[in-house]
Symmetry: C2
Subunit: 340 residues, 2 copies
């Protein structure tokens, strides 16, 4: 089969890779219906994370189950499934606590590589969620978004304790930041401030439910958020970037006693203990336990209540995976969908 492989920074190719097969009795193999490029894939593509050997890429996917191992009970061949970017057993104490992305037996799908025609999904019963029947093609992008960015935006909002009446600021206007706007709206936030400098992303944020847009960054961005909140700061800030600047902006935009949910993979981020202490702000982050939210998110998509698939503004055949990476790297695209 063919699958994307990162050979060096800037060098993604569609290579011939071994056909996946059921290895463990809890595995499934799916035929990929759609995959995509994640903002976090760019850390390696840009050489920020080292690329030490040819690396299969991609951790987001929807597909049709081809084959299941002997111990798989819930997932059946022929089902259309959405899965999370960490395989999880969904039965260990961490899973039962709602942190499937910290499952005692978790396996990162990123290490398997989902930008490919077929994918082996470990712990299929605890990782995949089947849709009722085969969904209409029009739902594919939004269901795919649930696999990571929508689930991650959802977690950011929950980690920051977004709820009815709250004022929420979203740092980052990538696909996760935009999905975080959707999450804040669905969770009842009263005011949602999208921090973005890009007209097209501002527009999408507004359509997703942002009530305000702030174009300033850094200290000026913080000052604007404070100005909009009576000098106090936002109740909840969703950090969807992962840089030190974004984290500082998030922490300083939250009110005393407020919450920051951070879902950008931190690169060079250190939080000063004294500053955090004096701020009274709570901080929770991590890789989103997408599996916990998938049943609910899939239902919201199929009910037409949310349409996170609109973050895909580039729709390419898998052959053109390199162009998908390039377009996202150059910020010509918010997110690239790939169809095998």
């Amino acid at each position: 089969m063919r699958g994307a492989v990162l050979h060096a920074p800037g060098d993604v190719r569609l290579d011939q890779r071994e056909d996946p097969a059921v290895v463990a009795p809890t595995d499934a193999v799916i035929r990929t219906v759609a995959a995509c490029v994640c903002g976090s894939d760019l850390w390696g593509y840009r050489g920020v994370d080292p690329v030490t050997r040819p690396t299969p890429m991609g951790h987001e996917y929807v597909g049709v189950v081809e084959e299941v191992g002997a111990d798989v009970e819930l997932v059946r061949p022929g089902q259309f499934v959405v899965g999370s970017f960490f395989a999880s057993d969904n039965t260990c104490p961490n899973c039962l606590n709602g942190y499937q992305s910290n499952c005692l037996h978790r396996q990162p799908l990123g290490a398997i590589g989902c930008q490919a025609e077929y994918v082996r999904i470990p712990l299929a019963d605890g990782t995949l969620v089947a849709t009722p029947g085969t969904p209409d093609d029009a739902f594919i992008p939004s269901l795919l978004a649930c696999s990571d960015v929508m689930g991650t935006g959802w977690y950011a909002a929950l980690a920051a304790e977004v709820g009815p009446g709250k004022t929420v600021a979203v740092v980052g206007d990538g696909a996760v930041g935009l999905c975080a706007v959707i999450a804040a709206r669905e969770l009842g936030a009263e005011r949602i401030v999208a921090m973005s400098r890009h007209a097209s992303r501002q527009r999408l944020a507004t359509e997703f439910g942002a009530t305000d847009v702030v174009t300033e960054r850094g200290d000026e961005g913080i000052a604007r958020i404070r100005e909009m909140t009576g000098g106090i700061g936002a109740d909840a800030v969703l950090e969807c970037v992962g840089t030190e600047q974004a984290m500082a902006q998030a922490l300083r935009s939250a009110r005393p006693g407020g919450n920051v949910g951070f879902v950008g993979v931190p690169h060079g981020v250190a939080v000063d203990g004294r500053e955090l202490f004096n701020s009274h702000v709570a901080l929770r982050g991590g890789p989103a336990p997408v599996r916990a939210y998938l049943p609910d998110l899939v239902e919201r998509v199929l009910d037409g209540r949310i349409d996170p698939g609109r973050v895909f503004d580039l729709d390419l055949p898998l052959e053109q995976v390199a162009e998908g990476y390039r377009a996202m790297d150059e910020r010509r695209a918010i997110k690239a969908l790939l169809r095998p």
Copy 2:
């Protein structure tokens, strides 16, 4: 009047200081019935925090109101009062959000110096809580404890979302850590692990409600907590020290999705963003909004439900303030009460 002044590391003296008077119309002046030495007073006493000039000391107090300014409405002369270590108006947005220690008009009592015969209390109505009548002498230590250490332990527990059924670990066996045990018990924790190496403190922790004691520290302490919690970690960890080691121990003792409440004033603490991300642990700290809890805590004391005053294992006349500092510095005493 006489009040304690820190002249240099290790050099606390009872000096003649100017008699306090009502300055702002929202001030009150109290005659101090009891004050005490705080673990945080030792940062300066030990020279960890610089001592640049003679500094009045102390921020914990109970007393009787002597005089009030023209705008003070709730507090009356003759009342017995307990106050928090930050003066707060109790009406600003941060106060209304429950973060009186981040009041827009807050004033640290530590800058005024409460180890003294009289104290000027700014924003008296928003800072002081009067007891119903004059309490029996036996309640003085516990009421005094509410002024900081009991309120701080309470906040640590709330910040870590302690509640019924939870497993809680307490890092630090000083007065705050011991009061945090009381808080965890009152808030319904099922299992409370006190981390302590000192027999007398272990005993008090157990009497306060600790169900287990762990004597190991660092990696061994973390391993013990994990062992006791099925390999997962505690639901809530209360960090009551403020050093980098204590914070690392707290973060690594909490389960994925767990909570750390940190109330030790951080000294040289930096939290690695990636580690916090991967842990899924939430972190909230800060100077406790004691004023928010005072009415409830005072009631619990007078009802005999909590007795945090037992942390005072040294009871001295104010004249012997230097001995109070020495005894705490040398860990001969958990906490020294001072009576003017």
